[in-house]
């Protein structure tokens, strides 16, 4: 019984031990250190750029955009009519007026 009372008293005293606490003082040279840190960060531009790119809010939309562009390009090419070698021959023939297969027959008049 007495032991429990003693424990309770100790607990209460300990809980009150932060009463009247004073604010701890920061390093007097803090500003100089912060300045040095800012300069160092400025120098490492590329590391900041990487940090920016790796942010989920930047990286995720960038990946989605890349996927969308790729998908759009894929379907665009797929829907275009694919020219067969035969088509190419016909284009070539019409360009050089070679579409007439019986060229000799058409120029030589039958007697």
């Amino acid at each position: 019984m007495n032991e429990q009372k003693h424990i309770r008293e100790e607990m209460e005293k300990t809980l009150e031990s932060l009463n009247g606490i004073q604010r701890a003082a920061a390093n007097p040279y803090l500003f100089t250190r912060i300045e040095a840190r800012l300069e160092k960060e400025e120098r490492s531009f590329w590391s900041r750029a990487l940090t920016f790119i790796s942010r989920p809010s930047v990286a995720v939309p960038a990946i989605v955009l890349t996927i969308l562009i790729n998908t759009a390009i894929f379907f665009e090419f797929k829907s275009e009519k694919v020219q067969t070698p035969q088509d190419e021959e016909q284009v070539f023939a019409s360009e050089y007026n070679l579409s007439d297969n019986t060229i000799y027959e058409s120029t030589i008049e039958p007697e």
Binding site: H6, E10, M11, L15, S17, I21, R23, A24, A26, N27
Partner: protein, 190 residues
């Protein structure tokens, strides 16, 4: 200098304004970080990080709340990030030690003595800080801001972006948990 004027000057990149902000609020930031992290070295590191962020993101500060409230928010967030990083490292080192890899040895955290505690209370305060360190994050933040920084429940609710009744509830649970932890401590001691 007026707070709003200082913010405007800093937005324009004025170094003197930045120095003034650092000098005015450095103890507030350091003491808060020290209360949460319970390590002078880590608190100094976080204090620097806080002011670097202030310098870099002052343009996004909308001045809807006081500058001190904004500083408290950044400090709490940075301090919690720091704690999580440390815990991750500690866990990793522990796993490494299990597999016999040459990881860092896990060292038990030494007792923390806050420099602002009166000499008579040093020993008791160290026991209390050890117990605070075992509280869940939200309870730890509310209790530290109230007891170490002397903030009212209203101010804590502004910092934590929650209602006053939530802060009251957090404080109530924090005190109950601390009582249990202290009870165990003194029972095992005797």
């Amino acid at each position: 200098m007026d707070e709003q004027f200082l913010i405007e000057k800093l937005r324009q990149g004025d170094e003197a304004a930045f120095r003034e902000i650092v000098e005015t609020w450095k103890n507030l930031v350091y003491n808060t970080a020290l209360g949460i992290l319970q390590s002078a070295e880590d608190a100094e590191d976080v204090t620097q990080e806080v002011f670097v962020q202030v310098f870099e993101s002052i343009k996004t500060f909308k001045a809807e709340s006081k500058l001190s409230t904004w500083l408290y928010r950044i400090t709490v967030s940075k301090a919690l990030d720091h704690l999580r990083r440390k815990k991750r490292k500690k866990r990793f080192a522990f796993i490494q030690s299990l597999f016999g890899a040459g990881g860092e040895t896990v060292i038990e955290k030494p007792d923390f003595n806050h420099p602002g505690i009166v000499l008579d209370n040093k020993e008791r305060a160290a026991i209390l800080f050890k117990a605070i360190d075992r509280l869940p994050e939200n309870q730890k933040i509310a209790f530290t801001l109230h007891k170490v920084e002397g903030l009212s429940y209203q101010e804590i609710s502004d910092v934590m972006k929650t209602s006053v009744s939530s802060v009251e509830s957090l404080m109530h649970r924090a005190k109950n948990n601390l009582k249990k932890l202290l009870h165990d401590h003194y029972q095992n001691k005797d």
